[in-house]
């Protein structure tokens, strides 16, 4: 393929592919590293590698799969630099988790798609709470403090809402005729 520097169309094609694959890629990476900070860093590294290697990508094959292969490699590379100081899963477990995520990627995507419907079914105050917990640029501790709750109590509530959402997502997929 042509040199990317002289080919704006290539960049445009890349951006299109990447933005389509990104939600799945982020979910995949998130399930393999301890925090969102880690996940963001790995996804960013992955995006740069993907762009560099994009001339090797065969159009017509699945970009998401290809991206996942590279992301898995980036996760392993990243976890070696962090393994000592934090709660990082061992390499063999990361491999198992990555394989299984890959196998289930379609179901997981359907689950992500069902979220909006389930969010709408939540009572107002629960929806507000979960939104504020995920508001960009704010820590849960800050949010809890603003609501006058202890962080522990807030986490407990948040976990309960997540369980409700998971149940709802499971039901939704069943109703759509997908085995979960």
């Amino acid at each position: 393929m042509a040199n990317p520097s002289s080919n704006d169309a290539l960049y445009e094609a890349f951006v299109l592919e990447f933005s389509r694959a990104e939600p799945g890629l982020r979910a995949f990476v998130r399930s393999l590293v301890p925090t969102w900070e880690d996940a963001d860093e790995v996804v960013q590294n992955t995006s740069l590698v993907l762009w560099k290697k994009f001339p090797e990508f065969e159009p017509g094959t699945e970009f998401g799969r290809w991206a996942a292969v590279i992301a898995r490699f980036e996760v392993l590379k990243y976890r070696r630099t962090r393994a000592r100081d934090r709660h990082v899963f061992s390499e063999d477990l990361v491999e198992i988790l990555a394989d299984e995520f890959d196998e289930e990627s379609e179901t997981l995507q359907r689950e992500r798609n069902a979220l909006e419907t389930c969010l709408r079914k939540l009572p107002d105050h629960q929806r507000r709470l979960v939104k504020s917990a995920y508001a960009p640029g704010r820590t849960i501790r800050e949010v809890a403090e603003e609501l006058g709750k202890s962080a522990t109590a807030f986490y407990k509530t948040l976990n309960r809402i997540r369980q409700t959402l998971l149940d709802c997502i499971e039901r939704t997929l069943k109703e759509e005729g997908h085995a979960v």
């Binding site: 040199n3 520097s5 704006d8 960049y11 445009e12 951006v15 933005s19 939600p23 982020r26 979910a27 998130r30 399930s31 301890p34 925090t35 969102w36 963001d40 996804v43 960013q44 995006s47 740069l48 762009w51 560099k52 709660h87 899963f89 061992s90 063999d92 477990l93 198992i96 988790l97 299984e100 995520f101 289930e104 997981l108 689950e111 992500r112 979220l115 909006e116 969010l119 107002d124 105050h125 507000r128 709470l129 979960v130 939104k131 995920y134 508001a135 960009p136 640029g137 849960i140 603003e146 609501l147 006058g148 986490y155 948040l158 976990n159 997540r162 369980q163 959402l165 998971l166 997502i169």
Partner: protein, 536 residues
Amino acid sequence: MSAPGDRELQEWIAAYCDGRIGAEDFSLLETRLREDPEARRLYRRYLNLDAALQDSSEDEESQAWQSPGNPAHDRKVVTGPWVWGLGTALAAALALSLILIFARSGAGPEPAETMAEGFAILTETVDLVWGTPSEPGAVFRRGDTLAAEHLRFESGLAQIEFFGGATVILEGQVDFEIVSPTEAFLHGGRLRATAPPAARGFIIRTPDIKVVDLGTEFAIDSSAGRSEIHVLDGEVEFEGADGNRHRAVKGEAFAYSQDQTAPQSIPADAGGFTGVADLDQRSQHSAQKGYERWAAFSQKRRQDPRLITYYAFDEPGTWDRVLRNSQAPRNPEQDGAIVGAMRFPGRWDYPKSALEFKRTGSRVRVFIPGEFTSLTFTCWARVDSLDRKYNALFLADNYQPGEPHWQFQEDGRLMYSMKIREEGKMRNYIYYTPPVWDISLSGQWMHLAAVFDASTQTVIQYVNGKEVSRERAQKDAEVHTTRIGAGEIGNWGLPTKDDPWFAVRNLNGAIDEFAIYSAALEGAEIREIFEQGTPY
């Protein structure tokens, strides 16, 4: 669907997901995941949900931020013309990574840290009379932060604490200039300076000498081409215009003038300069006078038939959870219930108290029946910071048509608003002042008033007795009947049994004295309330 141990597993997964899992639980979770495919499935679904929630909040964010050029908004489209202009792989990759960084961090660059300007604080004043306005020099109040200011006053006392650690008491008439946190210039007048060891090296210059403190207490009298230095404790070094340095110790005093080549020894005069203890006594005396003046005025005010309710905040004791309605004759029906707010000394020491609303849930609940036309709100407020988007002074609970809301917006503007009904729909109609508060006013008492004059459909707002805004309602926003009903000082809204969440609007600060009138008070009346009640 929950097998034994599932609950525990869910708790571990949740804790791991939120980055708060302990070392022991982490290793239990890891073992369980390695051994149990069902546990991995649970884990996968949970983390997948976490990712979906994160994405969903960002999508919303990018819709909310429609401002052009905000990268978060452009994330899904990604390409702007600026990317094409760069043209190299490196630039494109760089642009991409920037886009990703911005998208992740949400709204862009972090807000700037709060900054304030200053070298010193005016910590005490007694009977201070500032210089005539024709002379350049600013006027300040107790508690103000002072930068490189030139202070001139005719009489009275002022205590200034420098950030460097030295304290200076000035006696009027004085002409004094702050240079830095560790240096000042006495153009003329008398001062007494204390510099504990931590503040060693504090410098005061006069037209005749430069005095360097070596960990001590000293006084300077500078007038008519001559400066006297009296060492009250410790040791100082001083230097005349000739450049010769001298040292003086406790009990010594010297006079110096520009035409003198050597300092002249004079008798020391320790008692002639006001010290911290004298100042404290005089300031208490002055505060007592201020309190008595206010108390006399307040007694008259209580009988004003236009009052709807009046809280003078002068109950004895700090334990009382009732905020007494001070109207005469007494009307206990409109006593307020204090919730969470704490009593502290108000503008003057007890029995004049104030209520601090620093806790999220703190408030004073009141119930004020009836229908009115014009309204006037007045209060003394001390704002420590505007932490919330809206910071309550007084808010009616339900916010039905004709019910008022009076609060600070986070940018320092006061907002008085009323709900109006327009073509069957409810609408919020807000009257703003320009910004009247910033961090430099933190901890200062200020008098606030909002007047709704129903006859002219105008809202006039005042700060410290001065009008700061005046706005007439648009034709469709006229209000002819006002009501209050249930409401709160210092916060907003009772949560319900089914919905325990409430908007956080508590004022980070305190309120001292609060009144509502069923009439539009005149500017002169507002000014008098301010003048008779100012602690400065």
